[in-house]
């Protein structure tokens, strides 16, 4: 239905290895992400999916390997620097401000883009006020996009889980990211919520032109919405390709369905 143009490689992960003491979390992982694509990382529990995301995100520093983002190669970068480069993420276990309204939570996502300093923002005068109005307009677009107008002023803690996930996505979108990392966006959701979320992810990809990297262990959902899929198992890459290729990959079938002994 859509004819998005999948472009050049924006994110290139080369030979990443990560260990915690004697535990090897990731071993020699390489893959790339192209502009405007939906790229999934799947694997059973403990396969190293979240570790991989944390490496890209600058939370973990891998012992070996490099990550290249739009031509810039980096080994050690903290989360803030990554965010400034245009990478946003959502969290598996939600990291929202529960007592703040939906609007304010998404507003925090604009923080990096605000030019005025803390003092100016506090007295909210002149340029700071105009700036806030502009940001508010962008946030309102996101609220409209995610269809959460009815909850604009509701404290996030009072919303059902599926809606909180949507707010989390909204906050990440507020950064106008070039690459959006989604950590299990559909974990703990019912079928209907999963469908809604899938639609929003595809719409984000389409409307905002964001490149999306998502982690998920619900195979069905992933296969429906991803362009390419990386499969991890015990920290090693065991498959990489289109959903159809991955589905017929023997190693993947073995990892998911077990093997006869």
């Amino acid at each position: 239905m859509s004819n998005r143009k999948i472009g050049d490689v924006v994110l290139d992960v080369q030979n990443i290895s990560l260990s915690f003491g004697g535990v090897k979390a990731l071993t020699d992982i390489s893959f790339d992400v192209r502009e405007h694509e939906v790229r999934a990382i799947i694997g059973p529990n403990g396969a190293g999916k979240s570790s991989m995301l944390n490496c890209i995100n600058g939370v973990y520093w891998p012992q070996q390997g490099s990550i290249t983002f739009r031509g810039h190669t980096f080994k050690h970068m903290n989360s803030r620097q990554v965010a400034e480069m245009g990478v946003a993420r959502t969290f598996q276990n939600l990291a929202l401000f529960k007592g703040m309204s939906v609007l304010d939570n998404i507003m925090t996502g604009r923080n990096l883009r605000m030019k005025s300093n803390l003092f100016q923002q506090a007295i909210r005068w002149g340029a700071a006020e105009r700036e806030e109005t502009r940001h508010r307009e962008f946030v309102e677009r996101i609220i409209d996009f995610l269809e959460i107008q009815a909850h604009r002023k509701t404290p996030v803690g009072q919303l059902p889980y599926g809606l909180q996930k949507r707010v989390d996505l909204g906050r990440a979108l507020a950064m106008e990211p070039q690459v959006l990392l989604l950590d299990e966006p559909m974990a703990g959701m019912n079928v209907e919520e999963k469908q809604d979320m899938s639609r929003f992810i595809l719409d984000v990809n389409d409307e905002f032109g964001s490149t999306i990297v998502l982690i998920e262990h619900d195979m069905g959902v992933v296969m429906d919405i991803s362009d390419r899929v990386v499969v991890l198992d015990y920290g090693k890459k065991i498959g990489d390709g289109t959903p159809d290729e991955v589905r017929s990959n023997d190693n993947v079938i073995r990892a998911y369905l077990g093997v006869e002994h």
Binding site: N3, E140, R141, E147, Q149, A150, R152, Q195, D206, E207
Partner: protein, 651 residues
């Protein structure tokens, strides 16, 4: 401000001239209320009309309109009429297979829709139409979200259409003005499809003259005009919305307000504070349920205060509103209650500034009706159907009787047929059913009377009281009159009961199938620490069955004390495992129960109710909104209800 123009487009132009800078329409978008003045509306309508003309839309063509209440869609209604074409609003939640019938029936080539969801549906319809002539040529969408990469032929955005219109207007000077001037009052102004309680939907053709007369009657009765605000939130395809949001709007010249989304209506209403409001009984019911739930969660002193003052309101509130005599002490107490309870309550309901509110579409429970009037909301009933522009009876201020729908509206004549059916003649009666002379002949007799299909009685003051659908009224084996709607409405007044279906025609006793209100009963269960795992589980809990049993016992007690109704007390009931849903054809799109269909679909359950069983296993297919299907199954308990000895009316 009133004008005497004979067609809706000319009414619009008259307002644009008389009050060019007054607000005509508002819509909340991105959190801010946007306003169109009458001048702006006239200008935009002109652009859309010219845009349609440039695509080949001409006089007597039909334009389908599918979507929620958006200003652009209301403008499209007038744009089609400007070219002497006919707008055909369709229910936006209908699935493609239902919608294709109407598109085909009305030979639709042009469609204006709201958003991607509707575009997808219309494209699906177009595929279903293959081979048959003519089919949809142009689909115009208001909200471009998600549609950027669609390249199907005939798709166009609303803004593109306006641009075409501007160019066309320049190139064809006077085309628009000539078209508007050529429109006549006797032209068909709109085709509204009946919801199809019986059989296939039929297109009801109403002329400009009918709807303008109906609009004028309402506007004059309630003195509506500039400065009044109304919330438009009900389906555009419903005759009520067309009467209030199009006919009365253009006759009266007040302001239309469109909510941000269907979920924000309550909030938006509080912000606008409409002075004029209408809704089917279930909307009022829903509001009351929401309030009751929150009241139950309130602190004890608040609950006490609420109960105290509501009792007072029940006793004297309605009389005060009707202007009857009430003692000074009660008046003082009511004033205090107004300050403490009624005022804040009206505010929460978004009804602080309501001068007049209307309900119609189904009979409203007397208790529900009394509740709103008792807290000072001037709620009134009107009566009518699609075939009469929803304009037959109106309750006049100061003459509101709870059980009736009021006297004949200005320009309307009423007659009761020998079999009890209500007959109507006058300004608002339909011209015909679209391309269905056979069906037209069935409802319009030689004397010009329209046969409503409702059973009713006229009292000594000329007030009409509707008992039930003429064909629904049945008899028990014993010969007692059985009016299922009447009993169901009593049941539905309980916040815990969302829907009820009663059986009894030709049987020896009455049995009922109940739908619980998931929100209300769920809340009730939570407060009791009763664990449940979803709708099916909750509906089957013994505690819930007992709760429903109590409601039914109260209804039975009521029935026992009413003249001639005592024998139709509910003997047994069951609580259904799924919500009745229009997608499964169990309700009409206006959410009236289709009793016959339900009796057939759940024949096993009806059999069990009358067969003396104590429980029954059932499997039901359900259809989701996207067209997929699934299955729910459950074993339902059949419960005996408590009945009461019939109270003989004092001689």
């Amino acid at each position: 401000m009133q004008t005497t123009a004979p067609t809706f487009p000319r009414l619009l132009l008259a307002h644009a001239q008389a009050q060019p800078e007054s607000p005509a329409v508002r819509e909340k978008d991105l959190g801010i209320w946007q306003t169109w003045t009458w001048n702006a509306v006239a200008q935009e309508v002109r652009e859309i009309a010219c845009g349609l003309a440039s695509l080949g839309f001409k006089a007597f063509d039909n334009l389908a309109i599918v979507g929620a209440n958006r200003p652009h869609l209301y403008m499209a209604v007038i744009a089609a009429q400007s070219l002497r074409g006919v707008p055909v609003p369709l229910y936006q939640d209908a699935v493609a297979s239902e919608m294709v019938f109407m598109l085909q029936d009305a030979s639709i080539e042009f469609v204006i829709v709201e958003d991607q969801e509707q575009v997808d549906k219309l494209l699906e319809c177009r595929e279903l139409q293959t081979g048959k002539q003519p089919s949809i040529r142009h689909i115009i969408y208001d909200d471009p979200k998600g549609l950027r990469h669609y390249d199907q032929p005939g798709l166009m955005s609303y803004e593109q259409l306006r641009e075409l219109g501007r160019a066309f207007d320049k190139a064809n000077v006077g085309h628009y003005d000539r078209a508007v001037a050529s429109g006549e009052a006797t032209d068909v102004g709109v085709i509204l499809y009946t919801s199809g309680t019986t059989g296939r939907p039929k297109g009801v053709c109403q002329t400009h003259a009918s709807f303008i007369a109906a609009g004028r009657g309402g506007v004059e009765t309630d003195k509506l005009g500039p400065g009044d605000n109304i919330m438009s939130y009900l389906p555009m395809a419903w005759v009520g919305d067309h009467l209030f949001s199009v006919a009365q709007w253009l006759v009266g010249g007040f302001t239309l307000n469109c909510p941000e989304s269907s979920e924000t209506v309550m909030n938006d209403m509080r912000e606008i504070g409409p002075s004029y409001y209408f809704g089917p009984p279930r909307t009022f019911e829903g509001l009351l349920t929401a309030v009751s739930i929150r009241m139950e969660d309130a602190a004890r002193p608040k609950r006490w205060l609420y109960a105290k003052f509501m009792a007072l309101a029940q006793r004297v509130g309605a009389d005060i509103l009707n202007g009857a005599t009430v003692s000074t002490g009660d008046r003082l107490m009511y004033g205090l209650g107004n300050l403490l309870i009624y005022g804040p309550l009206r505010n929460v309901l978004g009804m602080s500034r309501i001068r007049v509110a209307y309900t119609a579409g189904a009979a409203i429970g007397p208790d529900l009706f009394r509740f709103y009037r008792s807290i000072g909301v001037n709620l009134k009933q009107f009566y009518g159907q699609t075939e009469t522009c929803a304009y037959v009876c109106l309750q006049q201020d100061g003459k509101v009787k709870l059980q009736t729908v009021g006297t004949a509206a200005p320009g309307i004549e009423l007659k009761i047929a020998d079999d009890g059916e209500v007959l109507v003649r006058g300004v608002s009666v339909l011209k015909e059913y679209y391309k269905r002379p056979d069906a037209t002949a069935e409802v319009l007799d030689a004397n010009g009377y329209f046969h409503t299909g409702d059973a009713g009685v006229l009292d000594s003051e000329g007030h009409l009281r509707i008992i039930d659908r003429a064909k629904d009224v049945g008899r028990l084996v014993s010969g007692a009159i059985f009016a299922p709607n009447y009993i169901e409405n009593k049941l539905k007044f309980f916040p815990q009961i969302k829907e009820a279906v009663c059986f009894g025609n030709g049987r020896d006793e009455v049995c009922a199938a109940i739908n619980i209100d998931f929100e209300a009963v769920g809340n009730w269960a939570e407060r009791r620490g009763l664990a449940y795992g979803g709708y099916v589980d909750l509906a089957g809990k013994p505690e819930v069955l007992a709760l429903v049993g109590e409601c039914i016992a109260k209804v039975n007690a009521d029935l026992a004390s009413e003249d001639g109704m005592g024998e139709t007390q509910i003997a047994r009931f069951l609580v259904l495992h799924k919500e009745l849903d229009p997608d499964d054809d169990e309700l009409t799109r206006t959410r009236k129960v289709r009793r016959g269909f339900i009796a057939e679909k759940y024949a096993v359950l009806v059999g069990a109710l009358y067969g003396g069983k104590t429980e029954q296993y059932i499997e039901t297919q359900v259809k989701f909104e996207d067209g997929r299907t699934g299955v729910v199954s459950a074993t339902l308990k059949i419960v005996e209800a408590r009945t009461f000895p019939i109270v003989k009316a004092a001689a």
